[in-house]
């Protein structure tokens, strides 16, 4: 376990993240141009979606696919309630802010998912290819739970059909699922034909992206004064609660070691792309500094550095893998 954590902490992707974090905290002018970061995120989503689809094509459709997606949906709906309860116990946050934060913790961080697949690959493990589809399915349901929590507190929320279209068809989901379908349709031959682009350079490109994420998290940490101690504790405890729920779901479904680890990772991660946009439209009264700082500057670094090796170690012990 300690060896795994040390290997992870000294991996190029985590060290790139740490470099970005320190550069931002030291107020260096280092930055990744916006267009480059956007291009890299498109690349990563395409690559991870395509490889997931090719994996499904190689192993055939698994009857557990639908059950696993359903489990992901249930987790995404349910986790905000656990997050909300935990926040109300640990932190003095207002009901509106607590509900908005809770919504983030039922949704997922696709970058954490990508880092987890890289850790699995480095450990010589694979996971069910359809976990990519599970990731996409877990993006949105948590928003409904957060809005329900808000409506119970007489919160004035504003959701319209346009917002639902924006959430369900946001670029990340469309690209991830689209690449997954292309990967599934073209299979191993398709993957072989573009492997030089989406397999070999993947980890190097991920390093640059995580450097940028480190810069963003570091800038977020500079404004961490908006969080009380209870909120910071929540940002570290909630991923473990989510991972435990993901572990239970993965074990019940009989997923592989890699699949269980990815299910834990998805349940442990918090959104910082889809949910913040939805919250700004639906609940503008909630403070974005709180939910973005918690998600980006507390939970994301925790998962990347300590959480992922922990989830992998636990998944290995529980599945005997």
């Amino acid at each position: 376990m300690l060896d795994l954590a040390a290997d992870n902490l000294l991996s190029p992707i985590v060290l790139s993240f740490v470099l970005g974090l320190f550069a931002a905290l030291a107020r260096s002018d280092l930055s990744v141009p916006e267009a480059v970061a956007k291009g890299i995120s498109l690349y990563l989503l395409f690559a991870i979606g395509f490889k997931g689809g090719a994996g499904v094509a190689a192993h055939g459709l698994d009857p557990r696919l639908a059950a696993t997606i359903l489990a992901g949906l249930v987790l995404s709906f349910a986790l905000p309630f656990a997050a909300f309860g935990l926040l109300r116990v640990l932190s003095g946050m207002s009901r509106i802010d607590a509900a908005a934060v809770a919504g983030h913790y039922g949704s997922i961080s696709i970058v954490t998912f990508v880092a987890a697949t890289t850790l699995l690959a480095n450990a010589g493990l694979t996971a069910e290819g359809y976990m990519v589809a599970v990731a996409a399915a877990m993006e949105a349901p948590a928003i409904l739970s957060a809005l329900w929590l808000l409506s119970r507190g007489d919160g004035n929320t504003k959701m319209d059909s346009d917002l639902w279209r924006e959430i369900l068809l946001n670029g990340s989901i469309v690209l991830l699922l689209g690449a997954f379908v292309i990967g599934m349709a073209t299979g191993q031959d398709g993957l072989d034909s573009i492997a030089a682009f989406i397999v070999s350079p993947f980890q190097g490109v991920l390093c640059i992206f995580l450097l940028d994420m480190g810069l963003i998290a570091g800038r977020g940490l500079r404004s961490a004064g908006v969080l009380d101690r209870g909120a910071v504790a929540f940002g570290l405890v909630m991923p473990l609660v989510g991972a435990l729920a993901g572990l239970g779901a993965g074990m019940l479904l009989g997923l592989s070691t890699g699949g269980v680890m990815l299910m834990m990772t998805l349940s442990a991660s918090a959104s910082y792309i889809a949910v913040p946009a939805a919250m700004r439209v639906a609940v503008p009264e909630a403070n974005p500094s709180i939910y973005l700082t918690l998600s980006l500057a507390v939970t994301f670094p925790f998962n990347l550095t300590l959480g992922l090796p922990l989830y992998l170690a636990v998944a290995r012990i529980m599945t005997g893998g």
């Binding site: 346009d162 810069l215 963003i216 919250m279 700004r280 503008p284 974005p288 500094s289 980006l296």
Partner: protein, 103 residues
């Protein structure tokens, strides 16, 4: 040269609300506007910068339009329905234009 009186309306609003705002402007029969990116700034919520804005939910844009004076009130009614609860600044100033038939 002959000039004509007009109103210049500038609306700073969260990027995520941009399309809702321009749709409201269309409902007020305003069909010409420009959208400008904002690099950063400071307000009631503190300083912010476009650098490192990973979420579409954060960051601001400025929507600018120049209209005939009689279109101002209907436009402001529509704009207010969008910006009422959001972060944003709406300002109006007088200006002069050369080709009135274009507005």
């Amino acid at each position: 040269m002959q000039t004509h009186k007009a109103k210049r309306v500038e609306i700073i609003i969260e990027r995520v609300m941009e399309r809702r705002l321009t749709e409201a402007m269309t409902r007020a029969d305003v069909t010409g506007w420009s959208v400008l990116p904002m690099l950063g700034g400071s307000g009631r919520s503190g300083e912010w910068s476009r650098e490192g804005q990973i979420s579409r939910g954060t960051g601001l844009v400025q929507v600018v339009c120049i209209i005939r004076p009689e279109k101002l009130d209907p436009l402001l009614d529509q704009v207010f329905s969008v910006v009422e609860r959001q972060i944003g600044v709406v300002s109006v100033c007088d200006c002069e234009i050369l080709r009135a038939e274009r507005f």
